[in-house]
Symmetry: C2
DNA sequence: GGGGACTTACTGAGCGTTCGCTCAACGTAG
DNA sequence: CTACGTTGAGCGAACGCTCAGTAAGTCCCC
């Protein structure tokens, strides 16, 4: 069966910014939560079944095994980021600066809105080689997309970093990091976090205007300053 | 017993840059490797004992339980980073720019030279609340140190980021990220990676000179360009 | 519209294995 | 003779997973 969320693939403009409540098969939903709280190996099949409110065999009726749960979740997740990032890039057109900003925004929005799915990235180690290979290939593709944009921007003099590959990896790492600390009830909305990370990322790839302070992004805040990192809780 | 590495705390200048081969009690060493490869819950006590070449009870003679192995490893690790980072900051003196660069360099050097220890950071979730609290407190202290420096630099006009707290968190995330992908046999040495991350971090906190290209760091390379991310292997 | 064939979603029981951990006993070095 | 470091044997509990079986629905044929 492997019922998967409808994936929200309507092609309307800016659709990559909109997030309906996560709609996963109940088994996947509870597996995701359990894996987040206890990790893959720390979660038993009985635990997942218990959360769902069914027996263990019912779970095996829907999914081949425990591994398939994780693989399905991770693949669902990376494909959604990739789709949204591609949509953002398409919408931004050919200008490397706009593309870069759109891609970073889309990725960070995902990390915040789909935090629990995105956080499972820490569990790739628990994927069997074949599943991991598929996942890593998709993640590499995302990195490749971003790197192409940065290198084009560099050719046009928009980005000044002498080390685009390292810059892109760092940008992705810090975007991914959002899934580690973002909390819905924190001081910043997902949109604000995305905006801030666009600015930070521009600095990382060396966009002079951003660093000189010439790029003025609106920073609507729910708290006056910025220091309070909401819940620093180091992870699940 | 809980034999712990000699910690290399000689107070000579720049000592935070030097890394002797990791010298851990064999049990800790093999536990570290196993946790890296399979995660905490994915590793059995029997597996660790087997790697060490002793029986299970021998292991329990030296460490209270499996949890103590992880807690000891993580605490050893974070304390070492903290010591080195403090030493780097002390050596840099009062100038915020120099302090910031030194601290970032020291952290990245640690992530590369002590990759296997640093990578265990992904296992904090498996720490019991008490152990986790201690670990997180130390990590927060590190973040606080860096934030103070950045805010002082901001007051002096050295850093222009309007969001220092977010910038610092991002910098730390991207430093920590080094432990995920760095390989000793990759195209870059630990020192080169540290240097590059100093530059990237300067961009992230908005150091204008870095982004304008005025800060020229030497970039000795083992490979001509930079794109090749060595082994991207997503994790352990 | 009644009935056989088939499917979907699920259950209780339990398989064999492995888990973290313990205990009594042992050789050896000081 | 004592303390240290280790061992073989094994505890109870939990693990991932499978089995045979069943209630309820859907389908199409006549």
């Amino acid at each position: 069966m492997n019922t998967v969320p409808s994936q929200e693939t309507t092609p309307s403009a800016g659709h990559w910014r909109s997030y309906a409540p996560l709609d996963l098969h109940p088994i996947l939903m509870h597996a995701m939560r359990a894996f987040n709280e206890q990790g893959y190996h720390g979660t038993s099949v009985r635990d997942i079944a218990g959360r769902v409110g069914v027996t263990v065999p019912a779970l095996y009726y829907h999914y081949e095994n425990k591994q398939a749960l994780l693989a399905t979740l991770l693949e669902t997740s990376i494909k959604d980021v990739l789709d949204r990032c591609r949509a953002a890039a398409r919408e931004a057109g050919d200008d490397p600066l706009a593309r870069f900003c759109g891609m970073v925004e889309s990725i960070v929005l995902y990390m915040a809105h789909r935090r629990q799915l995105a956080f499972l990235d820490t569990e790739i180690r628990s994927l069997e080689p074949q599943n991991r290979a598929r996942y890593v290939a998709l993640r590499d593709y995302l990195e490749h997309m971003l790197l192409d944009t940065v290198e084009e921007g560099r050719a046009q003099g928009v980005f000044t970093t002498p080390i685009p590959a390292d810059a892109v990896r760092s940008v992705l790492v810090m975007c991914q990091g959002v899934a580690n600390w973002f909390r819905e009830d924190g001081p910043l909305t997902a949109e604000e976090v995305a905006e801030r990370h666009v600015l930070l990322s521009l600095g990382t790839v060396g966009h002079p205007a951003a660093v000189a302070g010439d790029v003025v992004l609106p920073f609507p805040r729910r708290t006056p300053a910025g220091r309070g990192a909401a819940s620093r809780a180091s992870s699940g």
